[in-house]
């Protein structure tokens, strides 16, 4: 039986998925199938409008649908890009950390991975210019009150080289260290501030 559907139905499903992603605050898997079927639908619609030059109501409907599909696709991709960008910043710019995490990685499409990589490169280039004065990838939610911070090790992160020497973080111990050195570890979840 043929798959009779309303025009723009698939696009609505795509938007519903974006909405679900916002409401549950998670990143869902990139819905490649849905996107491809929408693109197929676009092509079919375009074929139908090709030959006819007259402005008939049917043409109007096709045109509206095409425009709507395009808008929904763009909205979906933009939504995902925004989420990825937020994730990147909350992780403190540690791209390998995000990409090596399998459950995140499996949800991204290859293009999104490329996007993340290029974005990260841009940020790094930008940041390198003034990294002596300001580190923009450090967390901004809590301004640091103290030069040193007491941290509790949640997960082993091994031996970390800092400006002041090497520190061997082991699980179950507490350290008092310079904040600047280990900020990225706190953001990534290896250490916990006490």
């Amino acid at each position: 039986m043929t798959d009779t559907r309303q025009f723009g139905d698939l696009a609505t499903q795509l938007i519903a998925e974006s909405r679900r992603s916002t409401l549950t605050d998670t990143l869902l898997k990139y819905n490649d199938n849905l996107v491809r079927s929408i693109i197929r639908e676009q092509r079919d619609l375009e074929k139908m409008t090709e030959n006819n030059q007259n402005v008939t109501p049917a043409m109007l409907i096709y045109q509206t649908t095409i425009v709507r599909n395009k808008r929904c696709l763009l909205a979906y991709h933009k939504h995902r890009m925004d989420r990825l960008r937020d994730m990147y910043w909350t992780a403190g710019g540690a791209l390998p950390h995000i990409l090596s995490n399998q459950d995140i990685r499996s949800k991204l499409s290859p293009h999104e991975v490329d996007f993340l990589r290029q974005y990260s490169t841009s940020v790094m280039d930008y940041r390198a210019g003034f990294s002596n004065e300001l580190d923009i990838t450090a967390s901004i939610t809590h301004p640091p009150k103290d030069l040193h911070v007491l941290v509790h090790v949640i997960r082993d992160c091994g031996i970390i080289q800092t400006e002041l020497g090497t520190i061997d973080f082991q699980k179950g111990q507490r350290f008092m260290v310079r904040r600047a050195d280990i900020e990225h570890l706190i953001v990534q979840g290896y250490l916990e501030e006490v």
Partner: protein, 700 residues
Amino acid sequence: MVFLPPPHLASASRPAYAEAYANILVAHRRSPLTSASSVIILVAPDVDALCAAKILAELLKQDDVMHRIIPVSGLADLERMKDELVTYAELHTLILLNMGAILDLSSENWFGQFSMKLTVHIIDSNRPQNLANMFAGGENGERFVVWDDGEAENMGEERKAWEALTYEPEPDSDEDSELDDQDEVQSNEDDDPDDGEEFSERGPSGKRRSLGDGDRSQEKRRKLDDSTRLSREQRDAYHELIAKYYGSGSWYGQSASATMYILATVLERVDCDFLWLAILGLTFQYTTARISRDTYDKYHSIYYDEVFRLNPLPPDVAANTTDAITAMSPDDLSVRAAEELRFMLFRHWTLYDAMYHSSYVAGKLGIWKERGRKRLTGLLAKMGFSIPQTQQPYAHMDLDLKHQLRAKLDSIAPEYGLVELTYPSFARCFGYRASPLSAADAVEAVGALLDVAGGIRMEVEVEGARHGGEWFGGGRLWEGGRNGEEKREKRIEVGSRQKDGDDDVDTDVNGEERKERTWWVKNFWAAYDALSDIVPLRDALSLAMSLHRAIIRQGTSIIDKQDIRTMRSHRVVVLSKGPDLALFAHPGVLARLGLWLVDALRDRLPGTKIGGLKGRGKKSLPFVVACLNERTQTYVVVGIMGALDFGDVRRNEFGLAFIEAKQRCNARSRHSTFDASVLEIEQEDLKLFLETLCEVGEGY
């Protein structure tokens, strides 16, 4: 190894605490490139060490010294830690809290191999201390610094004996060098110095005097430039002195938190928090029968003055009334002096329960029998408390009853033989967040967290759930160690695995041990955090209550079933079945049970003379409690030397007795904590071990 006199005995030539601390700072600041992991603090798992660690960490934090705190559970753990620490090239300060005093730290087994720039500070309340730690000098010796509490001044005799024995010159030597010019130090406690060790040449200084034994009248006092050798009698006398020092059992000196508090005082940086922590350390020592009432009073008076110095009361509130222990304002975090009743956690329980669960009352009234319980209700009735009132949680009792409580107790309790019901103590207000907490209760809560915060299923009671309260089923499971996880749940999803404990879920034996170690470490940090945060501390009170309930259950069943066997002079209790067996497999909990039994049976059992050289020992109640650990098929054995009078303490000789018995019967056992009187022994060897132990006791 030198010992530091406390500040009041210090002088220009004898550096005290402040100088040692300043040295730590200097060493840290002098090497900015390697300061990241240069100061390490090793902490033993008891409340006193926790308090001291907190004070020290705060002091270091204020000085911007980067440090690291590592919990260590026992000698085996310390060895493992030492092996790891050898690899740290940047380490220059190591601080041991409540551990290591008895170990000879400069020997090859311990820290003798470490680099020369390492300084080891030993702040330990355990006595006896290794004399080599205290008195050996020299370059190697200067690395180990023992923070002493003034007792070393009284150890002049032991010092001479030790020096004479270790620095015994070869027969023809003529040298006379000062103590401080030593190049090599040998490190033996009381082994015979003729054992082929390296010697440094040194003649006896003129300070040495004979020990006044009649046999040595042949020996005359030598002059400085005579080459002398120790006569056999003199050497024997010295040996005996040193053996007596080590052999008289173990006792406790000044608490580590008191040492830290004195340091803070010298640095003029005390505040209420430090004072509270020091008070907790002292109360811990007293409530676990580590120090006698006199010692407690001595330190108490010091803290009493400090409390009034730091927390002046407004003029219209008289001190020492129950009204004084209320928070004045929402930010009131001050410490007040208060009289503490000997009832366990009585401000958080019903009055009846508090009296029922306190070991002192239990002993005097005989709570384990029905008759005793009737006596208890009778006592309460005589004091004018109706039964419903005594079954109310303390907070809901009538106000006037609360005020009268102490007065009534003083007048009526002596009829039942309860005389020393109060002792002076302190309480701390927490603003409006919680009702004021007394020091003893806080110690109970922290101790309970240390022992059983995680790793064991504990049911705690929900208030109001008794007698079929709102929710049927009066208990809920204790959720210890979980509070850190909620904070982490809020973290981003990137790279955060929600359950950290699942990292080491293994199925092999090593995995079990590691899991156990993980739980222990978690408990440690839960207790550490609770010291400064009232919310987990208050929650831990219910945990402490259920712990006490378990102890009472077990204790009363032991006494009821007459499970206490008397082997020659020791009383022995062996627990091999029961509902709470897993709980009592922890040495801390088992020790509490032992203390409860000692208190409860103090008046009913005759004391026995045990120990002491030449049979001159004082009468005491030696108790040995053993519990089966089903998982590892071993018995955990704890030895307690109870004193006959309440408030007195005896030196605990079980450490040495255990070691000797272990050697004699070749039992497979190990000491898993820093306390030598706690032993873990294979199941099959227990009976033989116990018999050997009693022989050892007799053999003195």
